[in-house]
């Protein structure tokens, strides 16, 4: 109370007041924006790596004991003569990109790291990535290359070279709750028409047919829409990598979404749903179907084999497809020894199966040998994702074959959120919505070029 009284009685000079005010308003944001200002322990926390040591940074990709398994794995690395050892540093997902950016900008970043989606492309365009073509050659020579699933290397290649090595995958697949479909008296849908029928039947029993969300910090709605666009033979880019959204296939997809909203198959509140809202909907058995990530059955807490992966739908044009991300392992130009980085990375991709053997990760592997492990084969849903969904999935850059850094801004940016919320609201004019989104992407790409 006294302090408040003293504030109210404070005698301030105008100049002093304005100075304090300006600083108070500007400093937090500006400090956060500074390339060197949001280190979050990045470069300085290199895990005790000394001179010549390869610093490996890794995010917690799996369960709580994942980082421990990672640390143990790196500790078991024995470098060839003359090459440095490796150290392990776990980087939290929260603000990870800022952590990497500030560390790399100040040359205190890692020599090798894992990373999601388009991180390697962004850093490659900034000249911070050491291309992995020699690692690819080494993997080809050793025979490991042929063990990787088809298409995963291509997803990480640009005109300049291989920006990263595949590490695991994140796909968007169709999930359904078996008991609710049975209750609604419908079969598991196989194409858009049967999906619509199933959705209507689910609606009649008070269940959402296409459960998704596009609320604060939640991109699933956008991913679901792009997945369906790809499923229909559309996508966001032409084969040359130019934005190409206003196509018949994409318009048809958005019309399908409009129909799902008008039929009540998509929850009208989905526009604002966070991941927690969606999870609650599934747990409460109010969601019958929806596009989601691998491991969704575990997130929902399904122990009765009731939440299952469906078949990829056949679009009205006879096509199949979905969206996937190839998470990857990348090398940086700031390394004590490039040869040591490459040797470490080659060793790492040949030994990363331990995460699946120890069951500290449920992600979809990029290697046949890992997918064939008994520990992985125990999970029938994940096996189905590898067998059925991976071969038909495409990256964000579909219909182009190569990715680029601006996709990160497209994926997580304001344009995508506005687009997905507009579509899920169901009142959009498809052509106009796609034109607006295309303009937003072109603007982003122009600024990044």
């Amino acid at each position: 109370m006294n302090s408040i009284e003293s504030v109210s009685r404070l005698q301030m000079s105008r100049r002093g007041f304005l100075g304090a005010l300006g600083a108070a308003a500007a400093i937090p944001l500006l400090a956060a924006c500074s390339p060197g200002g949001a280190a979050g322990g990045g470069g300085g926390a290199g895990g005790g790596g000394g001179a010549g040591t390869i610093k490996f940074w890794d995010m917690p990709w799996g369960q709580a004991n994942y980082s421990r398994a990672g640390k143990d794995l790196i500790a078991s690395y024995t470098p060839a003569a003359g090459l440095g050892a490796a150290s392990y540093q776990s980087i939290q997902w929260n603000n990870y990109y800022q952590t990497f950016s500030s560390a790399i900008a100040s040359n205190t970043g890692p020599a090798v790291s894992s990373g999601s989606g388009f991180q390697a492309f962004q850093f490659a365009e900034a000249g911070k990535i050491a291309y992995a073509d020699r690692v690819v050659d080494a993997l080809k020579k050793s025979g490991s290359y042929d063990d990787f699933l088809p298409g995963v290397f291509d997803a990480l290649r640009t005109g300049q070279g291989q920006v990263a090595i595949p590490w695991q995958m994140d796909l968007r697949v169709l999930w359904y709750r078996k008991s609710l479909l049975e209750k609604a008296g419908v079969d598991v849908p196989t194409d858009w028409a049967s999906f619509l029928s199933a959705g209507k039947a689910l609606k009649k029993i008070g269940v959402v047919g296409f459960a998704t969300g596009a609320g604060s910090g939640f991109n699933l709605g956008g991913h679901a829409i792009v997945s369906m666009m790809i499923n229909n033979g559309g996508g966001m880019f032409d084969p040359e990598g130019n934005p190409d959204l206003v196509t018949d296939r994409n318009i048809e997809t958005l019309e399908f979404f409009n129909e799902m909203v008008s039929e009540g198959i998509i929850d009208p509140a989905a526009v604002s749903y966070t991941s927690e809202n969606l999870l609650t909907q599934w747990k409460d058995r109010k969601a019958g179907m929806g596009i989601n990530t691998p491991g969704w059955n575990a997130s929902v807490g399904d122990t009765e084999n009731d939440v299952l992966v469906g078949e990829p739908l056949v679009s009205p044009n006879g096509t199949k497809g979905s969206l996937y991300y190839v998470n990857n392992l990348m090398m940086y130009t700031a390394t004590p020894n490039q040869e040591a980085s490459e040797a470490f990375l080659e060793w790492y991709v040949d030994n990363m199966k331990t995460y699946w053997q120890q069951k500290v990760i449920t992600a979809i592997p990029v290697r046949h040998s890992i997918a064939d492990l008994p520990e992985f084969q125990e999970n029938a849903q994940n096996v189905k994702i590898v067998d059925v969904w991976q071969p038909i999935s495409q990256t964000y850059s579909a219909r182009s074959t190569s990715s680029f850094g601006a996709l990160a801004a497209v994926d997580g940016g304001q344009g995508m959120q506005t687009f997905s919320q507009t579509v899920l609201a169901g009142k959009s004019n498809p052509k106009q919505t796609l034109t607006t989104f295309q303009a937003a992407i072109e603007s982003l790409m122009k600024k990044k070029s």
């Binding site: 408040i4 308003a25 800022q98 009208p268 509140a269």
Partner: protein, 284 residues
């Protein structure tokens, strides 16, 4: 003697340079470049400022920021002052009420936004269910653009009124009860006492609380971002959310910092006006 004085001043000056001048200069430099989080980029002059000022997104965000701030400042002030006046009376368990009323301010915003999300987000949330039970339909508080804007503003008032209550309570405590006694003897009605005595005597504190709350509202990121993320379809995107998106989602540091500087300029202008009011009160 002079050297001693200089030595005393040097640490403060260094701190000021380090904490105020350097970030300000660094930010100004970024705002005239087309950089990202990774590199400083090229010098682009005032392009980031002109781009911001000519973009629809900026003015839509500015409009929402204005509404959010006006509702946030005056809504929380009215509720806070009302409660402060109420708590001045001999209410039973007054201390307990004070503690309970402080909770919205004390509880971390992450917790309160999660609670509000649970209350209003889905058709089966308690508040929409209550509306349905009353026959008012099932409003989508966070999915409808207008309702989302209203919800965020109400949330801000709920979070902020305890601060205003404390400011008002401390100001009211400094008013001599004899003044009211004299007014009553002169036949002043309760309304006249409030408008002719209470409001003028707490004016200085009120203006200060308005200045502070204006700064809190304009710079408020978590209240909006945690509840709606700026949506649906940008309906609750304020300038600070827009700046955040520019920097951390679109990776355009220059644009984001330029928006932050424009915000600061407006804040300073508003604060100068309010500060002048304080001086008027002081000299009256």
């Amino acid at each position: 003697m002079n050297l001693t004085l200089v030595l005393f001043v040097v640490p403060s000056v260094l701190l000021l340079i380090l904490l105020n001048a350097y970030p300000l200069a660094f930010g100004l430099n970024q705002s005239v470049r087309d950089g990202s989080l990774l590199d400083d980029g090229q010098f682009v002059g005032l392009a980031n400022y002109t781009n911001a000022l000519t973009s629809t997104a900026f003015w839509e965000a500015a409009r929402f920021t204005l509404i959010f701030t006006v509702v946030g400042v005056f809504g929380s002030w009215i509720v806070g002052l009302g409660l402060a006046l109420l708590l001045r009376t001999r209410t039973p368990a007054r201390g307990l009420f004070k503690v309970l009323l402080l909770l919205p301010w004390v509880v971390p915003i992450v917790v309160s936004s999660t609670a509000w999300n649970w209350l209003v987000a889905t058709p089966s949330s308690p508040v929409p269910q209550l509306f349905e039970a009353l026959g008012w339909g099932t409003p989508l508080f966070l999915a409808d653009p207008t309702l989302a804007a209203i919800t965020v503003c109400i949330f801000k008032v709920w979070v902020s009124f305890p601060f205003m209550m404390m400011m008002s309570a401390s100001a009211l405590a400094s008013v001599d009860p004899v003044v009211y006694e004299a007014a009553r003897m002169d036949g002043a009605s309760p309304r006249q006492q409030f408008t002719q005595i209470t409001l003028p005597l707490v004016a200085r504190s009120t203006y200060i609380s308005w200045i502070l709350m204006t700064i809190f509202c304009v710079n408020d990121f978590p209240t909006i971002y945690l509840l709606t993320g700026g949506g649906p379809v940008n309906a609750t995107t304020s300038l600070v959310v827009l700046a955040y998106r520019s920097v951390f989602q679109n990776f355009e540091t220059g644009s984001g910092v330029a928006i932050a500087f424009l915000m600061t300029a407006v804040l300073v202008a508003v604060s100068v006006v309010l500060y002048r009011q304080i001086r008027k009160v002081d000299t009256a």
